[in-house]
Symmetry: C2
Subunit: 349 residues, 2 copies
Amino acid sequence: MKNNGKKELTDIASLGEFGLIDHLTKGIKHHHPETIKGVGDDAAVIDNGPHATIITKDLLVEGVHFDMVYTPLKHLGYKAVAVNLSDIYAMNAQPRQLLVGIAVSQRYSLEGLEELYAGMRLACERYKIDMVGGDTTTSTGGLFLSITAIGHAEKEQVVYRSGAKPNDLLFVSGDLGGAYCGQLVLQREKQAYKANPDVQPDISKYSYVIERQLKPEPRRDIIQLLGQKGIRPTSMIDISDGLASEILHICKNSGTGATIYEEKIPLDQRMAQTAHEFNIDPTTCALSGGEDYELLFTISQDDYDKIKDNSLVHPIGHISGADQGHNLFTSSGQLVKLTAQGWDPIKGK
Amino acid sequence: MKNNGKKELTDIASLGEFGLIDHLTKGIKHHHPETIKGVGDDAAVIDNGPHATIITKDLLVEGVHFDMVYTPLKHLGYKAVAVNLSDIYAMNAQPRQLLVGIAVSQRYSLEGLEELYAGMRLACERYKIDMVGGDTTTSTGGLFLSITAIGHAEKEQVVYRSGAKPNDLLFVSGDLGGAYCGQLVLQREKQAYKANPDVQPDISKYSYVIERQLKPEPRRDIIQLLGQKGIRPTSMIDISDGLASEILHICKNSGTGATIYEEKIPLDQRMAQTAHEFNIDPTTCALSGGEDYELLFTISQDDYDKIKDNSLVHPIGHISGADQGHNLFTSSGQLVKLTAQGWDPIKGK
């Protein structure tokens, strides 16, 4: 395509986040044998002799990942650490160290940064993480956080997205959709505040979903549970983009299909009430909402008896051959196709 | 201090970059014995049995660290990688892996990001670095780069800022002040371009200093040289903020003083000419200019004969007891006090 004799440039948004990363990292070659896993999982994995070092990095950008109107800086610091730890746990590894990069504009005060650090330090204290370095610099607009988390695992215990096999069972921890509903409430209150700053809204009835949004907890307890039960998941991923998207990641990396059951998806009643208030189907929140930071994993059927009665994790379906596709059995008995946006009706199936 | 009944907030800039980091990371405790070195050096160091893993992180922010008017995206990508590798070499370690975080606004095209990645991949190819992961996201304004580099070293070979001892010799690689002069030229040309976009300036006579600014090379060759000669520096740091500031870092961390000689500071003739053109003392550029990414290190006098004839490195002074302070002998025979901004006249000494 030409435009006034100049080559027309391609809009980044047209590729989507995953398409963009795939495009930019295509054909990257590794030089070192200790690089076990590069781009394409929750974290990179480096061989260190008897064990492996696991490294992940996440950016949080003001106006994109958080809104300073309703995000207390201490919560933001806590969450920035939590989401990186979640990536390490999703590799079945233990996070141990953290590096913090902050670019901050002049409108932030020292006291504001102290709050941010207090939140990060609280998360580090709770999850026993050593804050070992980083970089602090000026930004021309807004606040940018870049966290790198470093973890540790026995090499053969590391779990990738790529190990799921047909007939494996799909499990998810906790409950889903809450973080998205929390964001809906916070955005609504922001609009109400802008319209009339004198009204103090009562948001106490939404405290569960708001906490899911502002202060997620990475699921160290699930990794401990799996270890205690002697279960090594065949694949695992953390739920940052919504259940549907994460299932598709596991299937793509493992070369499989999957079927899940709507009635098995764990939903909290408080989330469902909020979703109904916003005229959204609670299942849609779970499938597409994102930011729940629960763990999605697959296990061999042989391991089922070991955790079938545990209340922390829930079987939601199973892995199939790739030719079976990605399906959701709805509560009303329909078979629909799972997509990254939630689901599509399937015709003629 | 009070202001309308509200507590007055502290301006971040009032602490300076190093003061701010010190303040925010004060009292951080480590939980894990393998965390050998945390905040306060070029990189963090983690014990991995027979060897150590070295990790560093740098942010580059549009409008702060680079100006898109005169920074080609490919050069920017190359430099973003180079400055992180420089931190790893400054620990006497070999960089091996890299994680890339990019937050980018809608005004960047896919082709622009491809250029940026081409520069990063070129640096990775040249220095044999595996690009193993990262995060790409939207920003509300401008381009933010966050690079994490991971290196490897035999544990006892790692060099910190803290090991300098009185009578050790101070060495510096390459020549200094060029990157700063390159920036002066680029900023002048930007103003000229804004005043009259039709004039094509001839900047070929400044190509050396411009290259020093836009495309620094991390000094892998110096680390190789030291290894070949069997020299383990007693302390080392890379020169990102100017020679004076880096000498003070080594002295502060080692609990020493230092004296350097102006006539020994390596200056390139092309840098000196540019500095004179801007009515700046070339020595000031070297002491305070920054961004040269050369290595500053100290060695025991016993090692002097091993590298005294090598043209890559230059002795510029020596370490002394802390009570001797930080001094510069000027070419005119004056003894002046070295400060992070360059130097101050010393009275009565």
